[in-house]
């Protein structure tokens, strides 16, 4: 009997939880805020679903209820992607090491 592809996805999911567990514990506490903003940004990879939804219309009807929700989701996810990555970058740029005293 063949294995249902769902089982493979489930395996990826479970293993990723473990990867996430160990990776996140190694994040230094002083970067916990950037961690939250960057996880925000990457979870917006949900935009791939929104793009599929938005492109599902045919040439006669670009807009129907389904694609409209897709388009809206694209905008929401895009706010997060751009906002999340840029604000993370802005924060990370501020973390500086002590300058050597030139005395």
């Amino acid at each position: 009997m063949e294995i249902d592809p769902f089982i493979f996805r489930l395996s990826i999911f479970i293993l990723s939880i473990f990867v996430g567990y160990y990776v996140v514990w190694s994040v230094t506490p002083s970067l916990h805020t950037p961690l939250m903003s960057v996880t925000n940004a990457i979870s917006s990879v949900i935009i791939v679903g929104a793009i599929i939804a938005g492109l599902a219309g045919n040439s006669e009807s670009v807009f129907n209820t389904s694609t409209i929700f897709g388009f809206l989701a694209i905008s929401l996810a895009a706010i997060n992607i751009f906002g999340g990555f840029l604000v993370t970058q802005r924060m990370l740029a501020m973390y500086k090491k002590k300058k050597k005293d030139k005395k």
């Binding site: 999911f13 903003s37 996880t39 925000n40 949900i46 679903g49 751009f82 993370t88 924060m91």
Partner: protein
Amino acid sequence: MISANLSAIFYLISGVLFILALRGLSSPETSRQGNFFGILGMLIAITVTFLSIGNFSSGFIFVLIFLLIGGAVGAFIAYKIPMTAMPELVAGFHSLVGLAAVFVAISAFLNPIAFNLGTPGNIKLGSLIEMSIGAAVGAITFSGSVIAFLKLQGIMSGSPITFKGQHPLNAVILISILALIYFLCSTQSPNLFWLLLGVSFLIGFLLIIPIGGADMPVVISMLNSYSGWAAAGIGFTLENTALIITGALVGSSGAILSYIMCKGMNRSFFNVILGGFGATDQSSSAQNKEQRPVKSGNADDAAFLMKNASSVIIVPGYGMAVAQAQHALREMVDTLKKNGIKVSYAIHPVAGRMPGHMNVLLAEANVPYDEVFELEEINNDFANADVAFVIGANDVTNPVAKTDPQSPIYGMPVLDVEKCKSVLFVKRSLSPGYAGIDNDLFYKENTLMLFADAKKMTEDITKNL
């Protein structure tokens, strides 16, 4: 158009890049590179999605338009937002992830053919289960985050909103969500789908209103986790590896942060979630308050104490964020350092309104991150320090947590501020902190209270140094 196998491999690559993005955050030096990996992963995922659909006709231009609108709004927010507003921003972003998950689920429910999930009214069972879980969690994330946002922004009162029968009501609603998912899957009825979304929005709202302002670090981390699980649910529906990996990463990241925050308050996760903390304690402590003598001083006294010290430890808290005192504080520290005084910062895990809140504010004020220490790293140093400068923190310094088993905060890890030779406490009044209990530190022999706005006091001290 590229083959399904090839695009699956690219999605896997972007999933790995996201792991590297989080990995980079293990130290500030590698963090910027990590963020770059994250952006690269996102670019790959989006590009591959376009290529795999290959339909560049009518809808494409609209996809781009909506993408650019969202992107412009996001970029604008990212550049404009002040660092003190970061908790609100993160809560707002969580709500968007949740809502996007809901919208994608609606779209897939209405037009399952586009997602290869069957036909309307006859969606594959597995996909429907995944979709409805993703949608329900997304809806909870959305409404919960909106409430968190309103509380952080001050539009809604930060005090817990509780009413009789709250917990039984929530329990009934949660059970009804499971029942709705079950019936939705057996009947495929659109009405049940909308009902499920409505009830999920409602429970998100009800779950967050009883949680008080200072528990926000837990709430934000928890919603962070939810947004991840919602994304993973949708990822299963779309059979998309990048989304599944990301959802799992974000879900566990938020869960770990919630755990760290709960531990920082010595409270169980359920205790925080059930809410209402602090509301009952306030009245009982009110009687024996303001009777004991306190020593209060002015900027001149504080400056004198610090000038004669050889080492100073700064303990910032949420009050510093409220007063926007981080820059003034940094100027004061610069002056101290010029006088050859050793200065370091001590940060409690739950200081502020979100994990790492204080660190970002200090970084914004150009404080080098190697002068900033976590509780465990610095707690032994208080005994050897001359002055502790507590600015906007309260409960996290309360020695009662170590001495009085009756206290609601007993057992919470606290900074051993009282071991310093002298303590300067910047505060607007003697009012108790969030936990509603008096801070013994106020009445200690070696404590000098500085009653003023944190920013103004810090500036005055700098002038007197």
